[in-house]
């Protein structure tokens, strides 16, 4: 179910703003219909919580500051089961604590959005400074196999746009989705244009039958996504994090049900990867050297690219907007070029990229605390060109 937002919706701050990425993320959530936020303060994402605490009561939503990030994640899964569009926001240490109930959200097919404004890690690391080192954690952090939809916004405008998109994808696929921001994009102020005409919203599918009729809460439609009954509607559903059958009943000792249910939950997302995957191409047509970057690092890379082009070097860039699902086909098609992968980590997405280009990439890494300088990337371009 998709719909245009109402241009008159008081909740949406129509117009042009000079706004931080964190604030834009909160406004995107509200524009997407998020009316429940549970979180725990943590730098550099606290501004999202602060804005939600101020804004949600104005628009009839709930802001709940929980005792920790475990509880925050559990609370948004609960709120979503009651029908709310729900979100939490955190950074590395909190993201680690959320992994448990991210698994619950996936297993119970409960839509929700998790924002990670990445800082330097591991552990407490560098709370106020940038990192991009949770890119593999978002893919594999919770136990078991699951499929992930994650966005890596590179500007406050994208924080707004892709938070909405994260909600839409969460609702469409009944799954947790992620906004993998970083400290710089969270704290940078830039123009954010909020135009209701450009906002499209998606809501989860609802049961096709009335309460009392035969309804199995995990029986999928042909798109492999089951319609979702909410708590208190009278469907008398059972929802469990145990392996369960279509009725929702535990089947924790039945491998064939695990096989059937989990395969469907993976396929409902991965079969649609072409509709989910997003990237931006910059001057790839004649590129002999290709930068593959995401988040704030892509902006340093773009600066380096422009300088390199001024010097006559044939450089292009592929910016990953969805690091997950990974744009495998597009990346594989670039394998003839020299590939440079700048990231603020020890080489995380580079591993995935190398799998698809089937050769080592030229890695440019910072371990956290500082964004790569365009000059560092430029030097690497000149070295490999």
């Amino acid at each position: 179910m998709s719909a245009q937002v109402q241009a008159t919706d008081q909740a949406i701050l129509v117009g042009q703003h000079f706004m931080s990425g964190d604030d834009a993320c909160a406004e995107g959530a509200i524009a997407a219909g998020c009316r429940f936020f549970a979180g725990y303060p943590i730098t550099p994402s606290s501004e999202i919580a602060e804005r939600m605490a101020r804004r949600l009561p104005q628009v009839g939503g709930i802001y709940l500051q929980m005792e920790d990030e475990i509880a925050s994640m559990a609370a948004i899964v609960g709120a979503s089961c009651a029908g709310a569009k729900a979100m939490t926001a955190t950074s590395g240490p909190g993201f680690s604590l959320m992994q448990e109930n991210i698994g619950l959200a996936f297993m119970t097919e409960t839509p929700c959005v998790i924002v990670n404004v990445q800082r330097g890690g591991p552990s407490t690391g560098m709370p106020t400074l940038i990192g991009q080192a949770d890119m593999m954690q978002v893919r594999f952090g919770s136990h078991g196999d699951y499929a992930v939809i994650a966005y890596a916004p590179a500007s406050p405008q994208e924080m707004f746009d892709y938070t909405i998109k994260a909600f839409n994808m969460a609702e469409r696929f009944r799954t947790p989705t992620f906004v993998m921001a970083d400290e710089l994009v969270g704290h940078t102020y830039e123009r954010v244009v909020i135009d209701p005409a450009k906002i499209e919203l998606v809501s989860r599918k609802r049961p096709h039958v009335k309460p009392g009729e035969r309804f199995w809460p995990f029986e999928p439609d042909p798109d492999l996504v089951p319609p979702m009954a909410l708590a208190g509607e009278g469907y008398r559903i059972h929802v469990t994090g145990l392996t369960h059958d279509e009725r929702g009943y535990p089947a924790a000792t039945e491998p064939e049900i695990q096989e059937r249910m989990l395969e469907r939950m993976l396929r409902k997302i991965l079969d649609r990867r072409d509709e989910i995957v997003e990237y931006e191409e910059v001057e790839l047509e004649d590129a002999e050297v290709v930068l593959i970057a995401y988040g704030s690092t892509a902006r340093a890379a773009l600066h380096a690219l422009r300088l390199a082009r001024e010097r006559g070097l044939k450089v292009g860039m592929l910016r990953l907007i969805t690091p997950w699902p990974f744009p495998d086909k597009r990346v594989a098609a670039l394998r003839e070029a020299e590939i440079i992968v700048p990231e603020v980590n020890a080489g995380q997405m580079a591993r995935e990229i190398e799998r698809w280009i089937r050769k080592p990439a030229h890695r440019v890494n910072r371990l956290g605390g500082e964004l790569l300088h365009p000059d560092e990337i430029l030097r690497k371009i000149e070295e490999v060109a």
Partner: protein, 189 residues
């Protein structure tokens, strides 16, 4: 054309708000703007810098690489960033003591401004940032003064509109005066 401005001061001077107003004015004027911030290790009262990038085309790298204009309202911020000062330097002469070699650099224009004094004379030191913005507007050609003034008034509490308008205009007049003086000196040369 990409222009980079760094405003340095200490926590409580409204440095980030000043950067925000500058960025806000720029986008109102149809430019692109990005502001980032940096802090010293202190929780309160430490150095802070608001770095603003302005451009006519979308901004790629949002951080300042080599500021064209640096403004300092605090010795600590000046000391921390002094290796990156570019062709234009503004400093509050009542709050910052310049190293002589910074003042006399070839190709650098230096203005000793007094926003803190203006704020004190207005009876509210909190408007030092707004007085500084007035001076900055007068001494550079970043943006038209009306656009800046509008952004100032849209960013401050309603009950403090008059105070801030006055601070901005006083800073602007002060800046114009300094600019005129410099011109005179240049002409005499």
């Amino acid at each position: 054309m990409r222009q980079e401005i760094r405003i340095g001061g200490f926590g409580g001077q409204g440095i980030v708000l000043a950067g925000h107003i500058l960025g806000r004015a720029a986008i109102a004027a149809g430019k692109h703007a990005a502001m980032t911030q940096s802090y010293g290790p202190e929780m309160r009262g430490g150095r802070v810098a608001a770095d603003v990038v302005l451009d006519d085309r979308p901004i790629d790298y949002p951080k300042v690489i080599r500021p064209e204009i640096s403004v300092f309202l605090f010795q600590g911020a000046y000391e921390h960033h002094r290796q990156e000062i570019g062709p234009v330097l503004l400093y509050d002469q009542d709050l910052v003591q310049l190293h002589p070699e910074d003042a006399a650099r070839e190709g650098r224009t230096v203005y000793a401004i007094r926003p803190n004094k203006i704020a004190e004379e207005l009876g509210r030191r909190v408007v030092v940032n707004i007085a500084m913005l007035g001076a900055l507007t007068a001494l550079t050609d970043l943006l038209p003064a009306e656009v800046l003034e509008e952004a100032v008034l849209a960013s401050v509490p309603r009950k403090a509109l008059d105070l801030n308008r006055e601070a901005f205009r006083w800073g602007l007049a002060h800046g114009l005066e300094l600019r005129a003086q410099r011109k005179e000196v240049e002409v005499r040369r």
